[in-house]
Every structure is written in structure tokens, then in C-alpha cells.
């Protein structure tokens, strides 16, 4: 039925709680459906000589028009909500797979978006990308999940080797936790 493809796109995203792979083919199919509806609509109006006094012609034309709008609305909602999920994923432990699920256009959007957030942070002189959760203790114990070399702390350099435990200042390692290198033990 008309509009099914577009509705399925929205459902597909709604059912998932993360960011599933971008449905390039499905979007293309919706574009095709719109093309087809558009051609039919133009043809219908031409045939009727743009005379809409016959309610059957008017009704059919309006129906096609509405399906086109609905298709557009669904795809735009799909794109916009993917952007929201992408934005939210920045605040989570980063999952490498998310990058693979993006379309080329989304990759570009993400790059520009991060730039924009950085510009904003500069302007207000507050780095809004850190301190994402209510602070608890100043120090915390973490387990090293992936080797991440040596970091500098105010008490000197600390070597973070896989499977070792460390007691470190939270602000020094927040980014590493976010990137999934370190895991808080409690």
C-alpha cells in the first residue's frame, strides 16, 4: 500500500533503542514512490484540464498529494530522530559500531555538529562535553579494559596497562571512560 515503506522506516527506528544501520535502500524506495505518485498526479490534472469540479478527480488528486506529504513527513522524521540518537550517543560510552551505521551524510553532519558544540563551548568558556554525570567522589577506582599508554596526572605519570586497577582523579580519566578504555569498578 502507498506509504507503507515510509511508515516502516519510522517503525524500524522506533523499535530499536540505539542507532541501527541507515536504511539507504528504503529511503530510495520512498523517493521512487513519491516520483511515481507525483507523475500520476500531474498526469491526472493534465487529463482533467485542471478542472477539479468533478469530486472524483479532486478527491483522487488530494489523496495522492496527502500520501506524498505523509511519505515526506515520515522520512524527515526518520532522519531527524536518527540525528537525535546520534547526538545522544555522544554522551554514552562510545560504541565503534555506531560509526559504521551512519550514512555518509550523517558522518558529515556529525563532524559539523561536534564543531558547532565546540564553538559554543568556546564562546561561553565552559566545556559542556565533560562532567556528564553528577560528580561523586573526586577519585575513583577503574579497571583498564584496553591498553591506553601513559597519562599525566598531578602525581606524575601513570601507565595504564590492560587488566590493571588504578585509583585516579575522575577529571583526568573521564574521556577514557567515555571511550571505553577504562571501566569504573563501582
Amino acid at each position: 500500500m502507498y506509504g507503507d515503506q515510509a511508515t516502516a522506516l519510522v517503525h524500524h527506528l522506533y523499535k530499536s533503542s540505539s542507532l541501527p544501520p541507515y536504511k539507504e535502500d528504503a529511503v530510495r524506495q520512498v523517493v521512487q514512490e513519491i516520483d511515481q505518485l507525483y507523475a500520476q498526479l500531474v498526469q491526472l490534472l493534465e487529463k482533467a484540464n485542471n478542472d477539479l469540479s468533478d469530486p472524483r478527480i479532486g478527491g483522487t488528486a488530494i489523496f495522492f498529494h496527502r500520501v506524498i506529504l505523509r511519505n515526506k513527513r515520515c522520512v524527515l522524521a526518520y532522519l531527524l530522530h536518527r540525528f537525535y540518537r546520534l547526538r545522544d550517543s555522544r554522551y554514552l560510552v562510545m560504541d565503534d559500531r555506531i560509526e559504521e551505521n551512519l550514512s555518509a551524510s550523517e558522518q558529515e553532519l556529525l563532524t559539523n555538529y561536534e564543531q558547532l558544540v565546540a564553538t559554543y563551548s568556546d564562546k561561553v568558556q565552559i566545556d559542556i562535553s565533560s562532567s556528564l554525570y553528577p560528580p561523586r567522589a573526586l577519585y575513583l577506582e577503574v579497571k583498564v579494559l584496553k591498553d591506553c599508554g601513559t597519562i599525566m596526572t598531578e602525581n606524575g605519570p601513570v601507565h595504564l596497562r590492560k587488566d590493571t586497577l588504578h585509583y585516579l582523579k575522575r577529571t583526568d580519566i573521564e574521556l577514557l571512560i567515555q571511550q571505553g578504555y577504562l571501566l569504573p569498578t563501582s
Partner: protein, 216 residues
């Protein structure tokens, strides 16, 4: 709500109540979908205070300030920075959610900070370009407009429900409040200081702005 706090038995404390105000505005933002007026003074005031305190902590560290005192100061800095950052983040998030409506709404637009307005202005073309690249640009030319206003079409995104329910905490006596302006039957309640009432945001808004109440 304020309850049997034992505060009155404490000795007089020289407390900076602006911290509480910053927290209050953060909670107000978190508890409704609307974007409230930006609290310029609070934000820039605390940003300066944090920077000043940070520099004190750093210079004194070289001298003989006790490590524990220093740690406590740093802990407090972290706590206040969290309030500040979360306040700004919550607002940006709401701006993103309402992006396609915001610029049409003069009042709300005027409630943004200069940096937020700039942010919204620059984000708009980023998103619309993405829409064009991914979808709109592939449509027949006459169908490429982002925002078709005829029929039942809406702008993308939604201005989240502005008439949601909220928890309102009366910091002053609010008197008789009309709770359901849309209903033909007028219903009012008397709200005393310290009471918590669950009601519509549209009713609460006025009292948030004049600070006689806050959200919880």
C-alpha cells in the same frame, strides 16, 4: 515539603544562596519541555567564580594548603560545574528538539542567550543540508520544500507538548490559581507556600517566571 528540616538549630551560616538558584533553574529546565529565559547573571557569575576558585586552588597548592582542604575545594568545583554544564546542555538539547519552531516564536527566541541563538542559527542549515543531501534533493523539484504548510503537513520534529503536567512547588503563597483555563467549568485551587501540586505547565509557567514557584 521543606519538612522538618533541622536547619533552625544550626548556627548562622554564610551561605551563597545563588547556588540554590542555579540548581532551581536547572531543575525548572529539566522538568518541562519549554525553553525558559536564560539565566545570564547566574551562569556568567558562576563561571567567573569557578575560574577564580580554580586559580586559588592552583596557586595555593604550591604553598602549604592542606591536601584535604584542596580536595574539598576541587570537589565543590566539580559539583558546581556539573550544575552549570548540565543547565547549558539541557537547554541546547531543547533548542535542538524545537529547532524548526523556535525561530518563528519571538518570545522564546528572545529567551535564548546570544551564544544559544547563534548555535540555533548555525545548526539549522546543518540539518536542512543533511535533509537535502539524504532525501529532499532527490525529489521532484516542486516537492523539495522542507516545510509545506498546506494540508496536514507539519515542520519536522515536534515542539514537544507544552501543556504537559508538571510538579509545581510553591515557594510563596500563590493564592487562588485557575487550574484549567481551557475548561468551560472554572476550577481554582488555593496553593499555600510549601505545597506541591501536579498541574498543567501552561498554568505553572507564569509562576515560574516570577519565581513564586519552581518545578520539582
Amino acid at each position: 515539603m521543606q519538612a522538618t528540616s533541622t536547619t533552625d538549630t544550626f548556627q548562622e551560616q554564610d551561605i551563597n544562596y545563588d547556588v540554590e538558584r542555579l540548581r532551581k533553574w536547572l531543575v525548572n529546565e529539566k522538568c518541562c519541555n519549554d525553553i525558559l529565559p536564560y539565566q545570564e547573571e547566574l551562569v556568567s557569575g558562576f563561571a567567573d567564580l569557578c575560574e577564580f576558585q580554580q586559580s586559588l586552588v592552583e596557586t595555593r597548592a604550591e604553598k602549604d594548603e592542606l591536601a584535604i582542604v584542596r580536595n574539598l575545594k576541587e570537589m565543590e568545583l566539580e559539583r558546581i560545574r556539573y550544575l552549570l554544564k548540565e543547565y547549558l546542555r539541557t537547554r541546547l538539547r531543547k533548542i535542538e528538539n524545537a529547532l524548526f519552531y523556535l525561530w518563528r516564536d519571538k518570545e522564546r527566541w528572545s529567551w535564548l542567550s546570544a551564544a544559544e541563538a547563534e548555535y540555533a542559527k548555525q545548526l539549522y542549515p546543518l540539518i536542512t543540508t543533511h535533509f537535502e543531501r539524504s532525501f529532499l534533493g532527490k525529489l521532484p523539484e516542486k516537492l523539495r520544500a522542507l516545510d509545506e504548510r498546506d494540508g496536514d503537513h507539519h515542520s519536522p520534529g515536534n515542539l514537544d507538548d507544552l501543556d504537559e503536567f508538571v510538579f509545581l512547588y510553591a515557594t510563596k503563597e500563590m493564592g487562588n490559581v485557575t487550574t484549567d483555563p481551557s475548561s468551560p467549568v472554572t476550577s481554582t485551587i488555593f496553593i499555600q507556600k510549601g505545597e506541591v501540586v501536579c498541574l498543567r505547565y501552561s498554568v505553572a509557567k507564569h509562576y515560574l517566571l516570577d519565581e513564586s514557584a519552581c518545578l520539582l
